[in-house]
C-alpha cells in the first residue's frame, strides 16, 4: 500500500481549499476540469513510492560556481 493510497481521496472541495490556500481563485467549471487532471497526476506520482530509491539523491542539486 502506498503512502498516497492511505490519503483521503481528493474532492472538488478539497481542491478548492488547496487552491485558495495558494492564492488561486478558481471557478467551479475550472475546478471540474482540473480535478481529473490532478487526480491522474497524483495516481502517477503515487507509483513512485514503490521505486527502489535507497539512498538516491535528487538529480537536481545546488552547485557552486
Amino acid at each position: 500500500m502506498t503512502e498516497r493510497s492511505l490519503a483521503l481521496p481528493l474532492t472538488k472541495d478539497a481542491l478548492r481549499s488547496l487552491a485558495e490556500a495558494q492564492g488561486l481563485a478558481l471557478t467551479d467549471p475550472e475546478l471540474d476540469g482540473l480535478l481529473p487532471l490532478v487526480q491522474a497526476g497524483r495516481a502517477l506520482m503515487a507509483e513512485l513510492a514503490a521505486a527502489p530509491l535507497g539512498e538516491a539523491e535528487p538529480t537536481v542539486l545546488f552547485h557552486m560556481r
Binding site: 488561486l24 482540473l34 506520482m45 513512485l48 527502489p52 538529480t59
Partner: protein
C-alpha cells in the same frame, strides 16, 4: 535553379559556397513559398522577410569577397518561437508574451548565425510548449502537410517546425523537447530530429517549460542535416550552468555509413503497445539495420515503468513555478487547455517533486547499464500516426486510447533519463502518414545516434519522400 526549397542544408551550403546560387536566391525562394503555402499551414508566427533578405545580401557579399564561410553560410533556418531573438518578438506561442521583444539572442541563435545561417522567422508551437499535439488557440493550429484533405496535428510542441521543414518552407529548424517535442513532430511530419543529451546544447535564452527536462535540438529532412546543425549549436556556455563541457565531436565526420558490428537493443515493451503500422515499420527497420551488419537483440528496462510518474512530478512542478505569477494575474490570457495543465502543478508537493528527481537517477543509471551492453536502443517514436485536430481518442489494435498520453509514451522516458534520442522516418501508414523510429544513445554520444540514422537513410528512401503539396 528549380525546387531550391527541397535542397538539403548541406547541399544549399555547397551551392552557396561554390557560387552556384546566391543566398538571396535561396532566401527569396523560401519566402515565396512561405507566401504561397503558409496561409493554410500556419507554420510561422513571424516571418522575418526583410531581415532575412538583408542577411542574405550580406552573405552574398561575403561569398563574392572570398571571406571564410561558416558551415551553414547562406542557409535559411526557422526558430521555434521560444528562442529569444534580439529585436524580434518572441511569443512562446502565447498571448502573455504576444508583444515581448527580447534584447538579446539565445546562445544557439547566436551560434547558428555565426555559422552563417539566415533566420527566416519564428515558428508556431503549442502555447508555452505544453502540449504534444502542437495546437495553438492564439496563432492557429498548424496543418500537417501530409494530408491535404483533413486538418491533422503536426505533433508538438514544435508543430510549426515540423510543418515548415516538411513543407519545404525552411530546410531546417530549431525545436525544443521536454517530453518529446522535437521527436513527436519529427515522427508525425516525416522528419529527422534529435534531442541531444541534456546539457549538450545551451538553453540560455530559450523560454523554459521545465528547466531540468528541456532539451534544445534540430529538426531537418535528414540525419546529415541534423549533424550539420547540431555541430554548429553544441558546446559549453557560461550563460547556462547546465551546459556541459564534454568535448563536441565533428558530427558530420562521424557519418561514415558504417554500422557493421554495431549492437542494437530493441525495446519490446515499446513495440508491443504500438499500432500495427508502427510495429510493421519498425520490424522492417530492424531488418535494414541487420542487413547493414548490425546485430539486434531485445533489451528490457525495468525502471521505465516509473518514467511517467517522475515526468509528471517534475514537469508539473517546474512549469507551475515558472508560470505562477502570470496564472495569478493574467489567467484569462492563457488558452484554456494550457492554463488547466499548468494549474496541475500547484498541487504537487515538494516531496513529490524531489521523489520524481530521485527516480530520474534510477532510470538514468539503468539506461547507462543497458547502453554498456549495446551501442544504441531503438523503439517506435510514437505509437500512432497524426490524428485529426480535435481528436481526443485513437484506436490501437481495436483498443481506444487517449491521444495525448499516447503521443508522449515512448519519448518522455528519455527526457527523464537525459539520453540523446533521434526520430527517423521509417515508413508510412496506408493513409500516407509518416511513421518514425527512435534511436537512443549513450550520454553525449549523439555521434553514434546520428551515424545509425544516417546509415539507415543511405539504404532507405522514407526521408526523401515529400508531402503532396505541389501536386
Amino acid at each position: 535553379m528549380a525546387d531550391l526549397w527541397w535542397a538539403s542544408m548541406g547541399e544549399l551550403a555547397r551551392l552557396v559556397a561554390t557560387k552556384a546560387v546566391s543566398p538571396v536566391e535561396v532566401v527569396r525562394a523560401h519566402l515565396d513559398r512561405i507566401a504561397a503555402l503558409d496561409g493554410r499551414l500556419k507554420a510561422y508566427i513571424t516571418v522575418m522577410g526583410d531581415s532575412a533578405l538583408g542577411a542574405a545580401r550580406a552573405a552574398e557579399s561575403a561569398v563574392m569577397a572570398r571571406e571564410a564561410l561558416g558551415p551553414l553560410h547562406g542557409v535559411p533556418v526557422g526558430l521555434k518561437d521560444l528562442y529569444c531573438t534580439r529585436g524580434v518578438k518572441t511569443t512562446s506561442g502565447s498571448r502573455i508574451l504576444g508583444n515581448w521583444v527580447p534584447t538579446e539572442d539565445a546562445t544557439v541563435v547566436t551560434r547558428l548565425i555565426a555559422a552563417g545561417a539566415i533566420v527566416l522567422g519564428k515558428l508556431n508551437m503549442h502555447e508555452f510548449a505544453y502540449g504534444p499535439e502542437g495546437l495553438n488557440a492564439h496563432y492557429g493550429d498548424a496543418w500537417n502537410p501530409w494530408d491535404r484533405a483533413t486538418h491533422r496535428i503536426c505533433g508538438g510542441s514544435s508543430s510549426g517546425s515540423g510543418a515548415a521543414v516538411a513543407a519545404g518552407i525552411c530546410p531546417g529548424a530549431l525545436g525544443s523537447d521536454t517530453g518529446g517535442s522535437i521527436r513527436i513532430p519529427s515522427s508525425l511530419c516525416g522528419l529527422t530530429g534529435i534531442k541531444p543529451t541534456y546539457g549538450r546544447v545551451s538553453r540560455a535564452g530559450v523560454l523554459p517549460l521545465a528547466w531540468s527536462l528541456d532539451h534544445v535540438g534540430p529538426m531537418c529532412r535528414s540525419a546529415a542535416d541534423c549533424a550539420l546543425m547540431l555541430g554548429a549549436m553544441a558546446g559549453p556556455d557560461p550563460r547556462d550552468p547546465s551546459a556541459s563541457a564534454v568535448p563536441v565531436p565533428h558530427y558530420v565526420a562521424a557519418l561514415t555509413g558504417q554500422v557493421r558490428g554495431l549492437r542494437v537493443g530493441l525495446l519490446p515493451s515499446f513495440v508491443e503497445s504500438a499500432g500495427a503500422p508502427q510495429r510493421q515499420a519498425l520490424g522492417q527497420a530492424v531488418k535494414a539495420l541487420e542487413g547493414l551488419g548490425a546485430s539486434v537483440r531485445d533489451v528490457t528496462l525495468d525502471q521505465m515503468k516509473y518514467a511517467a510518474g517522475a515526468a509528471a512530478a517534475v514537469i508539473s512542478a517546474e512549469s507551475y513555478a515558472y508560470h505562477e505569477g502570470w496564472l495569478k494575474t493574467r489567467a484569462a490570457d492563457y488558452g484554456p487547455d494550457t492554463r488547466q495543465r499548468l494549474l496541475v502543478g500547484a498541487f504537487v508537493s515538494g516531496t513529490d517533486y524531489l521523489r520524481g528527481q530521485r527516480v530520474r537517477g534510477l532510470i538514468r543509471d539503468e539506461m547507462d547499464r543497458a547502453l554498456a551492453e549495446v551501442d544504441v536502443l531503438i523503439a517506435p517514436t510514437v505509437p500512432i500516426a497524426a490524428t485529426p485536430v480535435g481528436a481526443r481518442e485513437v484506436t490501437i489494435d481495436g483498443r481506444p486510447q487517449p491521444v495525448r498520453p499516447s503521443l508522449v509514451r515512448y519519448t518522455r522516458p528519455f527526457n527523464v533519463s537525459g539520453h540523446p534520442a533521434a526520430s527517423v522516418p521509417c515508413g508510412f501508414t496506408a493513409e500516407g502518414l509518416p511513421i518514425g523510429m527512435q534511436v537512443i544513445g549513450r550520454a553525449f554520444d549523439e555521434a553514434t545516434v546520428l551515424r545509425v540514422a544516417d546509415a539507415y537513410q543511405r539504404v532507405t528512401d522514407w526521408h526523401t519522400r515529400r508531402p503532396p503539396l505541389d501536386r
